[in-house]
Amino acid sequence: MNTRDNNLGPRQDPARHRLGLGFQAINRRNFFERMKTWSRSQLLSTYVMGGNCCTRELYRLSGPNPQTKDVRESFTEVEPIESCDVLIVTGVITPALKPYLLEAYERMLRPRYVLAVGTCAASGAVFETEALDQIMPVDVYVSGCPPTLDSLIKGLDSLREKVRLGDHLDGGLDAQS
C-alpha cells in the first residue's frame, strides 16, 4: 500500500481524533509501512522560508548550544527544495510572498509537512496579514513572538512524532479547496 493512497487523513474523517481511530489506523498498516515512516523521522530535511526575527531564533538551533543537540542530530537544512521534507514558514504571509510559498510547497518531497513558526505566520499578528493555513495545510504551530528556544524544540519534536506515525495533512492543494 502506498502512503499517498491512505485516505485516513484527519480532514477526510472528522471523528478520527475523538474515537482514537488514528492509533488503529497506524496499527493496521504493515511492518514495512511503519518502518518507512520511522526511518524517515530519524533525519528530516527542512527548508526555512522567511526573513524575520523568528528566523534569527531558528538559526540558533543550528548553533553549538547543548540544549539543541537532539534537534541538530535529527534535522538538517537542505538545498534545493526538491529534497526537503519539512517547510518551515516564519513571518507575515503577504500577497507578494504567497506564490513563492505555494511554489515551494509544490516542489517538496511527498508527503509534505509544514511548520508555522511565530504568531505572524499563524494569524498575521499585529500586521493583520493572512494566516498560513489559509493557503496550505499546517501540521504544527509554534507560538510566540518570537518563540523561545524551548518551544521551538518542542514544536520540532512533535513534528518528528507526527512523521513517525505517518500522520500528515498532505492531501494536495486540490483536495483542500
Partner: protein
Amino acid sequence: MLNLRDDLYQKFGTEFKSSFPDKGLLTYKAKIPFDDQSVETFQNFFKRLKEEFRFHMLVDICFEETASGRLAHYQFLNLEVFFYLQVSVDLQESDFLVSLSSLWSSAETFEKDIIEHYPIFITDGSKTAQRRDLENSRENQRLDSIPPVPRYEIPLQPSHNQRDRTWHRFGPHSAPFNGKVRVDLLIADNRVYDSKVLGGLHHRGFENKVLGKEPLSLTFQFERLCARDSVYAPLLWVETLEEMHHISVPDKAKAIRMVWMELARVEGHLNFLWELTHELGFYVSASVFAELLEQVYHLFNLYSGKSQNYSLFAVGGMRKVNPIGWGTECLEAAKYILKIIEEQEKGFNRNPRFMAVSSGFPMSAGQALDHGFTGPNLRACGVNLDNRKTKPRYFYDDVDFEVPLGIDGTTYDRFLVRLEELKQSLRIINQVLDHLPAGSILNKDHPLYRPEYDGQANEISMNIDQQGWPTKSLEVFSHIEATEGLLGYYIKIEEGNLTKLHVRSPSLVHLGAYPKIVRGGDLAGALTTFQSLSIDAWEMDR
C-alpha cells in the same frame, strides 16, 4: 556649519524652517512651478545644491499624499560639516515627479520604492514622460516567465557566444537569498551580465498601520521593524518622543542604553560573520562565531528574560533596573569574545584562501557615497562617516573608540571592518561599565510616564483623551547609527495626530546598488557580495 547656513539663507531666501537646530536639520520649502518645461529648472536647483553647497549624499526621499496635494521631501547630507538639509517640494496635485538619478544614483532606488506604492509618474527630463508603475515592473518578473533553477544545474561551460546568455532565477528559494528577495541574473560563461532585483516580499504596510495610533503603543511595533536587532528601531522611536516633549533621561539610563546599543552591534556583526563564513565554507570559524553569539544572547536573557524583542525601553529611561551582577557578566563575556575574535582575526587577515573568494567587486568611496551607502558598508570603502563621532549622543563623546576603515570596498574589507568594529564596541562596553553612574533609571516627571513602566501596575492604564502627541504641528527627521547604517524616521505631526511616518532603511539602499555592483563579475562573487551587503528584508520592505 554657520557659514553654510548663512549661504543657504542668502541664496534661497528666508523660507528655511528649523525643526531641531541642534541636530543640524534645516527645512527648505520649495515651490517650483511644475510642468514639462520646468524639469530643467528643477534639476538645476538640486544640481546647485550638490555642486555649490556640496551635499554629496542623498539620504532619503519621502513621498507624501495629503488632502491638499502631494509633497516630496528630500534629505541631504553635507559630509564636510555633517549638516542635514531637508528640501520639501510642493507638487500641487501634479502627476509627475522629476527623477534625480542623473545627479545621485541612490535617487533611483528611492524613486522605484515610491512608484511601487503610489500612483505617480517619474520623468527623467525627456519630453515624453514614461510611466513605470507596479504592474509594468512586475510584468517582466512573473513567476512563470523564468523557471526556477537549482544552483547545481546552472550551465557553467565556457561559451563566448552572446546568444548563450540566459536568465536564471535565484531566490527566494535558494541561498543566500533565503526568503528575502528574488534576484534574476543574466548569466553566460560563469559571468553575470545583468541582474534584476524584486523585493517587497515582506511588505506589510508598516508605515500606514501606525497612523492614528498612540505613540507609546507603537514601541511594541517598532521592535518588530528590523529582523537583525530589536534595539535600534524602538530606541530611536523612544528618543524621538523624548525630543518632541523635551524629556530628560537620567545618566544611568543613558549609560545602560549605550551598553545595549553596543551589544546589539556585537550581535549584528557576529550574525554577519557567522553567515558569511558559513556561506564561504569556513565551517569551524562559523561555529566559533555562533558560540560567541550565544554568549551575547545569554546577556540579553539575564537582563530582560528574552533573547530578542525585549520591551525594555521606556520614554524617560529604562523599564528594568540592571540585575545584580549583570555588569560583571558583561565584562567577562566581553573579555572572552575579544580573546576569541583576536584569534580568529589572525586566521583571516591576509589569508590567501579567504582573499581568493572574497576580494572581488571593488567599490570606490565616490561610488559608495553616490549610491547612498552608510554604516560598515560605506566605511569599508574608506569613508570616515560614523554618526557616533559626528553627532555623539549620550556619552559617546567621553569614551575612546576608533572608526575602522577599509580600502577597496570588497567583501574582504566589509568582513574586516566589522571584525574591527566589534572589538571597538567591546571597548566601549568596557569603558561605560567601568564608570556606570549611580542613581535612578527612569524619569517619572513627564506627561508620557505610565505606572506600568517600572512595575507599579500590571495593566496598561492608558488615558484615551491623552494622545501623547505634541499639540503643535511638527516635522522631524530623526536618525541613528544602527548596526548596518543610518536608520531614520521622517515624522510629521499635525494638530496632535501622526499624519506621516517614513522609515529610512539602510538595507533598501544597499540592495538598490546591488545590480550595478555585480554587473560584469563572476557568479560566485555575486552571491558572496549579496551575503556581505547584509540585507535585512524585514526592515527593507516595511
